[in-house]
Amino acid sequence: MTKARLLALLIAAAALWTGTCAGANAPAQAPQARIELEKTSFTVKTWRTDGSHIAAVKGKLICGGQPVAGAEVQAGLNKRRLRTGEDGSFDLQVDRSLLAYAPIRVVSANEAKIAGKPIGQREADGLASAFAAITVYHPIQVIGEKPDEADASRVNVQARIRSEAGDAISFFQVDKYRIAGRVEDADGNPVKGAIVWIDRDRGEGFAKSTPTDGDGKYEMFYWPEEEETNLTVIVGSRRYALPEGKAFVLPRHTSVDIRIRLPREGVIIDDKPPTLMCETAKGATYSGLLAGLDVPPEVPYTVTIPDRDGRFVLTVAKEVWERRPALFETRLTKFIGQEKVLKAGDALPVGLVAANDQDPRVIPSAS
């Protein structure tokens, strides 16, 4: 058996164990309920034109050893509610092209029946604690470990995010640039809740900012173009714009700060300093796949941006690593305000990479 397969089995076994355990934790009088899935973990398979990255999975809801009909289960938050059939079964489609950790729970037992009879409170309680999960992940392989040269109490872990042969995936890299700045009233006081828009007369591209905060600050992300760009500020239902016939040309390859002072009267923004100020700014938005260590936020570690083959380095206290923590994988989009353009091999700031609930946890395999 290959190591990759062994890993998949370990993850599957962990999910099954969790399902059984959750049922066992239900009130003592409740019959044990479980969600059976024919498969719970999938490695990422990139998007295919023919749709073959979508996997069909059959599931079954069982309570007290009997199938439950007419219950609704849900795989992940805000996803389709699946109604169980007469034999307790349901069908699920899993998009293997996207990382996922999708907990499956019973979300309604109102019309549930066992052996043709409506269920009682005891069964409902049991169903409420039934649990399973679907995981879509890239296998991670540990290639080597060595003491950190700068600090012997830390270890450099060289690891690799693996993909299926022929699959191309993108790791963390520059994605967009930022327009940020401040909206002020005619006296220079910050305006809260304003929205800044850019769009163009030709083409349909546009970008919309976050509402300005208490300091009047906003931000938005865009692809620069060598084209006239309209600038509009919306405050409530009032719309401020550049003078008729005026437009921005935004620079390429850089973020910018635009400070806008709104007029005391009318809705035309005076297009010269100090009422309209534009300057280049550092930083960019990055986006793509990263791995991180599944440890509490107070445990510091650094991770590098993976290279094109998925190789990255994790630097963490030796004692933390020796406990063999799981890793997580995430597709992260984040603005990083550094002058230097980050690229593969660069270490990311401590605390930048954080997991969310939908990110898969992965137990790395040894080299």
Binding site: R80, A168, Q173, E204, I234, G236, K246, S287, V341
Partner: protein
């Protein structure tokens, strides 16, 4: 107009450039001009509609097959001169916050006309009298987030399960009570489909479709580089009906988007068609992104500029056929496909047909996707690969056939295609070298640069394709681009509007316009819907411009005509 740039000098503002440009003013003062016959400005006096028997125009394209052909025969080539205005309604007079422009395709159910407006208001009007039955508008707070020129068009509603469904610019799906117009539920699509937000470039202009308990939607935003999709929601509670949307292109960073620079496009910005016999959903997809720059999206870019068939209950792919491979000219398959039972090469066949912005018309076997007619031209076709300096290409970026839908007349076996004959200057992005620079992997230009060709005036066409032979039966010219679409009748007429505000009737077999009426609206940017109440046949059409209106025509109506409008030939999404 030639643009000149002048740099503004400031201590810090080294990068702010100002240029002269012309822009349409979406906020032009409303000028309500109620026509004498208008009755819709009166407050609602009843909750019911006039009439006892109704032949409905039940969805965007009449039926879910989108054929836009009604069997009605009361209005004929012989009596069409007696057609006049039964009522009209000035939507801005009904609500001052209605925005300029209108692309709403009316839906008429049980004597009630449902129309939407730019800015996402919904009106329910008595189909016979024009009396307002109800009216829904977003809150000022919500409207403020999308009250922006250029992207506020809306193409209508779906009706089902006692509810009226519509989509708003800010990617909301809205369910209203069909009888009262009260809000039943509104969801943010981004709560269910990751990343579908205005901030990410998504917006909604399309009409939803209702079928078997589900509401089917797509989205706009392909030219913002969004990832196109079709999704299904349960009509009962607006929760997802599929496990995931059908995504038309890979996630960013995979397959032909492996270099991660763009999201891919392939937006589905017009309503789906649904075969009620087979539970198949068909939809047309937009161009790949970025539109005129293809270096970082190698290959065919499958499912873009395509017609795709998926299972209505699961969203699972059944077949997909591409009209333009590796598109560099913004040649969306834009208009909704039609499902037609037609005679092909002497045999009856169920087809899916669609005309693209490419100026090419296609027909496929509905079940298998096998090619029946492969790219029949209905416009001049001559489009070299774009260069940084610019090349003149036919069709221009508006098409071909834009979002305006076709109709199918079974009597003649003709498909009628609304066309645009106008070139564009296509300019490729200048930054191929820069885009490949590893230090700036995400800084590629978006690539959308297009200009009008000077001294070339575009015009419109209506092309009749004989489905039996795949050949043009005829093509007629119209003064302006065809931007609304066609609707045909059992008596051999096809109604279509024009950008100067005229509504015409075409004798489908003869290819002759037999009736023209100047509405009091500025321009027609949608196709008429035709329905009957108590056996009488009516034609309803919306007009846009600075005074968006609804006109309902019938035999014996008022023949007083309006003054000629001025053609609006702006972008397909513009609402001016």
């Amino acid at each position: 107009m030639k643009k000149t740039h002048a740099l503004i000098g400031t201590a810090l503002a080294l990068l702010l450039a100002i240029s002269a440009c012309t822009r349409n003013d979406n906020e032009a003062s409303p000028s309500p001009s109620p026509t004498p016959e208008q009755t819709a400005t009166t407050p609602p006096t009843a909750t019911g509609a006039t009439g006892t028997s109704f032949d409905n125009w039940g969805s965007y394209g009449y039926t879910l097959a989108n054929t836009r052909h009604v069997p009605f025969t009361e209005i004929t080539a012989e009596n069409v001169q007696d057609l006049g205005v039964i009522w009209s309604a000035d939507l801005k007079a009904l609500d001052k916050d209605v925005k300029n422009g209108n692309q709403s395709y009316p839906v008429v159910v049980d004597g009630v006309v449902f129309v939407t407006t730019a800015g996402n208001q919904v009106f329910a009007l008595d189909a016979v009298t024009g009396n307002q039955i109800w009216h829904w508008k977003p809150t000022a707070e919500q409207a403020a987030t999308f009250a922006k020129a250029g992207i506020i068009a809306n193409r209508g509603v779906a009706v089902g399960e006692g509810k009226v469904f519509t989509l708003a610019i800010d990617n909301s799906l809205i369910a209203l009570d069909q009888k009262t117009g009260e809000l039943v539920k509104m969801i943010k699509l981004s709560d269910y489909i990751d990343g579908v937000t205005l901030e990410n470039g998504y917006y909604e202009t399309t009409a939803p479709q209702y079928y078997k308990g589900n509401v089917y939607i797509g989205s706009s935003g392909g030219d913002n580089g969004v990832r196109g999709f079709v999704a299904a929601f349960r009509a009962s509670d607006l929760t997802p009906a599929w496990d995931s949307p059908f995504w038309t292109v890979p996630p960013k960073g995979q397959d032909w988007l492996a270099n991660s620079r763009f999201q891919g496009g392939g937006a589905v910005w017009n309503p789906v068609a649904i075969d009620e016999e087979t539970d198949l959903v068909y939809f047309a997809t937009g161009n790949p992104a970025p539109d005129f720059y293809g270096a970082n999206r190698p290959g065919d870019n499958p499912h873009t500029d395509s017609v795709v068939a998926v299972n209505a209950m699961t969203g699972k792919l059944v077949w997909s056929r591409q009209e333009v491979s590796h598109d560099l000219w913004d040649y969306d398959a834009a208009a909704s496909p039609m499902i037609i039972n037609a005679t092909v090469k002497g045999e009856k066949k169920k087809l899916v047909v669609q005309g693209g912005k490419s100026g090419l018309w296609f027909a496929w076997d509905a079940a298998t996707g096998d090619v029946v007619w492969d790219g029949i031209p209905f416009a001049k076709i001559d489009h070299p690969k774009p260069t940084a300096e610019g090349v003149i290409g036919y069709p221009g970026v508006l098409g071909g056939e834009n979002y305006a839908p076709e109709s199918y007349d079974p009597a003649t076996n003709y498909v009628l295609i609304p066309g645009i004959e106008q070139p564009s200057i296509f300019k490729a992005a200048k930054n191929e070298d820069e885009a490949a620079t590893p230090d700036f992997p995400g800084a590629a230009a978006f690539g959308t640069v297009v200009e009008e060709v000077p001294d070339v005036k575009g015009y419109g066409t209506i092309t009749a394709i004989d489905v039996d032979t795949g050949k043009q039966a005829y093509q007629i010219k119209t003064a302006d681009q065809q931007r609304g679409g066609l609707t045909s009748t059992g008596s051999g007429l096809a109604f279509f509007g024009e950008l100067d505000g005229k509504l015409n009737a075409l004798d489908v077999k003869a290819g002759k316009v037999v009736w023209t009426f100047q509405t009091s609206g500025d321009n027609v940017q949608s196709a008429p819907s035709i329905f009957k109440v108590d056996g009488k046949e009516y034609v309803v059409v919306t007009t846009g411009g600075a005074k968006p209106k609804v006109h309902v025509f019938g035999l014996g109506g008022d023949k007083t005509q309006g003054s000629a409008g001025e053609a609006d030939t702006g972008g397909a999404h513009s609402a001016q």
